[in-house]
Each structure stands twice: as structure tokens, then as C-alpha cells.
Symmetry: C2
DNA sequence: GAGTGGATTTCGCAT
DNA sequence: ATGCGAAGTCCACTC
């Protein structure tokens, strides 16, 4: 139950006090954690009703709102950052409303009982670095096209064609054009269709033979059939090799989980 | 700083005490909120490093783990429910590890300072009801095909064809087959392609004229062009009418945001 | 503001 | 377990 500039913790507040505490914290753009019994309604792109129960409400300094049940990795209800927050006391309930426009939607959390409120001014400037995203995978293939096809010569990348952007565009040893679509995960039918559209578009603009190559760590079964029907190819990409290609100096153990 | 069977709140704990408190709470499958300065690493399908900063860690009773920065509606790092948790004290740091298999991945949160720990035994049996999902939209159209096309006679739904399942399959007043794809949001190019594949598949198996209908509240601009090229149609679906059709007895004001 | 594509997507359902 | 599509997806980026 200590209070200072950074942190405020309150337990078992009555509705009036909780309302004031939350309103003050919101005004100061603090992060809020509220634990208690609440019900939730959402109106917007869809609608939802959540009956009463004990949950954890998270309100962030940018206005993002999350309602978490005791289980499940995702919030049962939420509102993205940038929404407008309003706290009121109504019929002995604490009501927190989060509204936004485009799309117009609103989330209403109604607490009948508040167990704990934590209001904190959090300082977080630490960098976040994600490796082996699709972007990094592309960097690796661009730096070392042999990872994709032996003797592949890169012509360009992110080449604009009508349906979108071709990830990798090059020539093989027989001077056939190679149109490659990269996926960091298992490639499905959607990826095959995407590639097919690119290949079709390129064929209409060149007399050269065009190879359509889907490059991914694995290929979904349905995608395999479709690929064959459309005369496209699959190339298995070795994520571990790509990782080593991207991060030559780093600890090789970093990729041990990537199989 | 009260303690009872339901709720435990601790502030400014040293690492040793924090470690014990968390281990005990985890053993009791309580929900945990930890606020403090931490760094995070993730190894698995990808890899990530999050440098030191003040965050909110949420551990749920089913083992789901979420690391939230002060902004953004989504966790910066997470681990889905069902993973194995381990808490250790290491070089005066509090280390929490969450590991799972299939896929093999692990999340490591390392606290240098713990501001607050909240451990709560939450009871939540309230129902959650989501309305106007794609499934409900389909129900509405099936119950009242006129919402889609005047005089549409339903033949079947979720009809299996090679590329997948046709949402709505019927006959119009001219006895042309109607193949309709429903979307609850704005329909894009992917939806057009999906419909095109269904129509193509149906045409190969019937001598009847086949109309391909994309039914959605709105159509993306790029999708419009593609639709025209492929000889398909767009039908605007009135979500409000669908909602009223589904929920005849409910408060009409419930759908006021749905435009 | 809309449109497009990726995501450690997650989630659910059917195979 | 895998595959497939939907999601109140969120998110960043482009036009």
C-alpha cells in the first residue's frame, strides 16, 4: 500500500475510491492493472457480452485496454491503443468505457468489486530485436541466392508487378527467369496462388521461360497438389542455414530450436 | 499488503523473496501479475531479444505467459497456455522460464528489480457470447436467403468442392446456379480468388449457368476490378438487417454501431 | 483514410 | 498431429 511517483497499489477499494484512483491514474497516463469481478460488453465490428467473473484488466498508457480471464493467452475483450477512456460510478458499479472511431467501437467494463489496483509509471526504452522474420529470411537469400537455387543469379527483389511485389527475381543457369516467393513458415494454398499470380504477370511481359518457385521450410499437402497443377516448384529453405548466413558472428546455439 | 486465500500483494521484494513468492503462486496455479524491470529472450519458431525495461508480466493459471510493455495492445513477448514454468534465482536476478514443445520454444524473462507481485486465485465461470461472426452471418442468410438475392432458393450450404467449401449454394429466379462467398468484413482480393476457384470448380461439373456472388458489407477497390475481370458479382450485405434477422427479440440499439 | 500482406499470428474445427 | 480458413484478428507500411 505504498505510494510514490512511480507506483501506487490499492487493495479492496470501494467503488467510489476505485473510480477516483483510476481516473487520476488515467489522467497521468499511467499503466493500470485492475483485478476484480466485472462484466464486459463490446459493440463495434461485432458485438459481445461477457458475464460476470473475476478478471485482470490492463489499461496501458497509450489507451490500449485488455480484459484477461484466468486462462488463455489472448484477452477475452480488448480495445487497441488510441482509444478514449472514461471512468464513471454508476449504481454502485465502477464503469470503464473505452471508445474509438474508425472503426467505431466501444468496450464497457463494469466492476462490481475491485480487489487490487496497481497504477505504475513505467519507463521502457529497451530495444526489441526479432530474428528470422520473413524480412530476415529474404535478406539471407538475397545475400546468398545459392540458399534458394544453385547458381541463381539475382536480378532484383521486391519487383513490382500488377498483383504485388515479387520477393526474389533472378536467372538460373539456363537463363530462365526465376520468380520466387518466400515464406518463413509452412506454405499453404494462399502462397501458391500468390506465386501463380506473379508468374502469370511476368509471363505476359517476357518471352523468356519463367520458373515459379515457392521457397519455404515446408509445404502444406493441399498446396503440393495445386503447385503441381500450376507447374510451379517448391524449394525447401533451411532456416538454420539462413540464420547462420544472417548472423555469422553469433552463437550457433541460438538456432538450435529451429530444426 | 494483505494476504488471504484469494489474493496476495507484495511490493518491492528482493529477488530471493520474489522468487519464493512466485514459485509458491505457480505451484497453486494462481494468476500472477509481476511489475518490474526485466529483459526477455525468446527462442523457438523465431528468436527475439528484448532489452531491459519496465514491464508487466502476466502469468495465468493455465501457464500462459504475457510480457506487456507500457504501450501497444499486444504483448511484446508471450508463450501460449500449457507451457512449463520454472522460476530460479540467478546472479541476483529473478529468472522465469516458460517452455513448451510442438513447437519447441522457450521464453526467458529476467527481472533485475520487482516492484509489485499480485497473485490471485480468480474464479471466472461467466459465459462469453460473440455475435455477428461469419458463422452468424451465414445463419442469417440461410434463414432468409432474400438478404442475399431476391428470390434466391437455397439448395445447400457448405457444399464441398475441390478447392474447399461453398458458403451458400442456390438457384436464382432464372434457375441459374448461385455460388456465394460470405465475408463479414470488407472483401479483398483473396476473397475474390477464393470465389473464382469455387465457381470454376462448379462450372466444370454442371451445364447450368453459374453466378459467382461475393457477399460482404463492402468491397475493396482492387477487388472490384478483379471481380469484374472474372465475371463475378458483388452483393452488399446489410449487417444490421442480418443482426435483426438473427436476434429478432433483442434490443435494436445493439446494432447501432454496425452502420 | 483505405489497401495490402505478414505474424513467434492465435483459434477452432475437421481430417 | 496436421491442415485450412477465420479473426472484433493486430500491425506496419504504402498510396
Amino acid at each position: 500500500m505504498k505510494t510514490d511517483g512511480q507506483l501506487l497499489v490499492r487493495e479492496r477499494l470501494d467503488v467510489r475510491a476505485a473510480c477516483l484512483t483510476i481516473a487520476r491514474a488515467l489522467a497521468q497516463h499511467r499503466c493500470l492493472v485492475v483485478v476484480g469481478d466485472c462484466s464486459v460488453e463490446y459493440h463495434g465490428r461485432a458485438r459481445s457480452v461477457l458475464e460476470s467473473g473475476e478478471r485482470i484488466l490492463l489499461i496501458k498508457s497509450d489507451g490500449a485496454v485488455l480484459v484477461h480471464r484466468p486462462t488463455g493467452s489472448r484477452p477475452v475483450n480488448w480495445q487497441p491503443s488510441g482509444c478514449i477512456l472514461k471512468t464513471t460510478e454508476k449504481d454502485h458499479f465502477l464503469v470503464i468505457e473505452a471508445t474509438r472511431r474508425t472503426p467505431m467501437e466501444s468496450l464497457t467494463v463494469c466492476f462490481t468489486r475491485v480487489e487490487v489496483i496497481v497504477a505504475a509509471e513505467l519507463t521502457d526504452v529497451g530495444g526489441f530485436y526479432l530474428h528470422l522474420s520473413e524480412e530476415e529470411l529474404q535478406r539471407a537469400v538475397l545475400a546468398e541466392p545459392g540458399l534458394l537455387l544453385p547458381d541463381l543469379r539475382l536480378v532484383t527483389y521486391e519487383k513490382k508487378v500488377e498483383p504485388g511485389f515479387i520477393d526474389v527475381y533472378g536467372l538460373d543457369s539456363c537463363n530462365r527467369l526465376v520468380v520466387a516467393e518466400l515464406k518463413r513458415g509452412r506454405a499453404g494454398r494462399a502462397a501458391v496462388l500468390q506465386l501463380a499470380r506473379y508468374v502469370e504477370s511476368v509471363r505476359q511481359s517476357t518471352p523468356l521461360v519463367v520458373r515459379g518457385v515457392l521457397a519455404a521450410p515446408a509445404l502444406a499437402k493441399g498446396a503440393h497438389t495445386m503447385l503441381a497443377q500450376l507447374g510451379l516448384e517448391f524449394v525447401r529453405v533451411d532456416l538454420e542455414k539462413c540464420a547462420q548466413s544472417i548472423l555469422p558472428g553469433r552463437d550457433k546455439k541460438m538456432v538450435e530450436f529451429l530444426t
